[in-house]
Assembly symmetry: C2
Homo-oligomer: 309 residues x 2
């Protein structure tokens, strides 16, 4: 069945909502790095091609993290060497440090992302540094990337809660984010890494930044809140939303269900709200259904299951 | 793990949100009637007891629809005869027509619900009547129920889209709803029966009613929009929300994925927003996990899977 053959209500937007949103597709990076099944580089390349064919304009392609930590993405060089980089499609890659940036520059990448933490506990666990020490690691990465003419995104993880610290102060999150912006990051992506946030918290955190012009949001659907939180962010004026094709990156039946917001579910909401995004839902569903077959498990995307289940 | 042992952000509400919400639990009726596995009456009784123990204050217990149409609920008389009706818990039942009301009165029910359609196509298919003819069927039901001192809820189904008609006019939905209120219904429950709505449509439809004092919302999560739509309804001042324990009533992997919003996912959002509701999330999760075991399939509730997966 075609995506739009079901009876649909008229499009209705709302006060304050943007006319257009950029979907920042993270499936090939944030999605696959959390999948336990090893995915061959040929499948990844087909995935990236299919996403571009579906109209995705930003797709985070891979990560130059050390292969010891993320074996799934150890093929980053080969992937980027063989990738058919389409006109009009941006392919950012994650670089954890200067060594990662060296690899990204060698691969002729034009857009990189660094991955910072809003909390001391996660900074120590993920980066082996105290909260304030992470900036010393990122400063030369951002400075060199900018000097080379690259765009730089700064992820801020654990913005709404941290499994070791509990509640995270909004002021602390905003201070980390502003420091990354001051360092030269073109955009921040505020992440609910453990998926616990609810819409009031989203609105309040965004309010700490004054302007949301350079702010993106990145919600995980662990507790089913991702789309409600996205709606709150759109109402606050956010115009870049991260999501993962098919909800790739977490199985809803695993104990550590940490899946990203499914791009299909986001597209459904944006379509109903009349917000332009450029993605063809039918082609996207075909792509995610195909990838679910490669991974050998059902997708957690509600829209995908309703249309292709 | 206890429901609240994960690190959680501080509670943050928002402008216009209610302080308190009534969760209208529909799992035993709307949930079970859509489950293919036959559930013994003893299991249903334990389910109702556990929901009351978890703090649910309104639980739609069963339906007096003809057993030919819903064999799962053919045991309505036995269920209500044996049910331990707790003080402070309201146990409404669905009555499709006068015959259903007769059975409800004989079972000493104090609260009934009728099930109307916002569209002509669904009225004809579900009620075998044209849109306007349905009121002739409901009028004596509501009049007699009110004369007997019962409370009456009016469901309005297909409020946002209809698989046979497509878009449904808000004016038509509002006209159906207002006619039910004028007839004597104490409350309306506006249902997105096929789960297609998005938040702007919710806000717009609620705006047709002037006051939302007597309006409840009933969202299905077929396309993953239920909680975002609920948030939009809360912002518009709605104070009664329908949901189903464990998302009972639809498997996310079936073609006709028509599950209700999961009560656990709703509770998570209400807790984060600081909206009182009276439900103990731990006990509710235990109840839904137990029922999933009885049905022999995983629950689609994200919260349940995160906390008990």
């Amino acid at each position: 069945m075609g995506a739009r053959e079901v009876g649909l209500p008229d499009v209705v937007g709302g006060v304050g909502l943007p006319d257009q949103v950029t979907i920042w597709e993270v499936g090939p990076r944030d999605g696959l790095q959390n999948e336990s099944v090893s995915v061959p580089v040929d499948v990844k390349l087909e995935f990236l091609d299919r996403l571009a064919d579906a109209g995705v304009s930003v797709v985070e392609a891979t990560s130059f993290v050390h292969p010891k930590w993320v074996p799934q993405l150890a093929d980053a060089e080969e992937l980027l060497a063989r990738l058919d980089r389409r006109d009009g499609v941006d392919y950012p890659v994650l670089v954890p440090n200067e060594r990662g940036l060296d690899r990204a520059l060698a691969a002729r990448v034009g857009h990189v992302a660094i991955f910072a933490s809003a909390t001391d506990s996660f900074a120590r666990r993920n980066l082996n540094r105290a909260l304030d020490e992470q900036f010393a690691m990122f400063e030369p990465v951002v400075a060199r990337a900018k000097a080379e003419g690259l765009k730089v995104r700064g992820y801020v993880s654990m913005c709404f809660g941290d499994p070791w610290e509990g509640s995270v102060s909004r002021g602390q999150v905003a201070a980390v984010g502003k420091r990354l912006l001051d360092m030269g990051c073109d955009q921040l992506s505020l992440g609910d890494t453990i998926g616990v946030a609810t819409p009031g918290q989203v609105t309040a955190l965004l309010g700490e930044f004054g302007s949301v012009e350079r702010i993106a949001v990145h919600f995980h659907d662990t507790y089913g809140q991702a789309l409600a939180n996205t709606y709150a962010a759109l109402v606050a004026g956010v115009r870049t939303v991260d999501s993962s094709a098919g909800g790739l990156g977490g199985c809803p039946y695993a104990e550590s269900a940490t899946g990203n917001l499914a791009t299909e579910d986001l597209v459904w909401m944006l379509d109903g709200l009349g917000i332009a995004h450029g993605v063809d839902l039918d082609k996207l569903c075909d792509t995610s259904a195909w990838m679910a077959g490669r991974l050998g498990r059902p997708s957690p995307s509600r829209v995908l299951n309703a249309l292709r289940g």
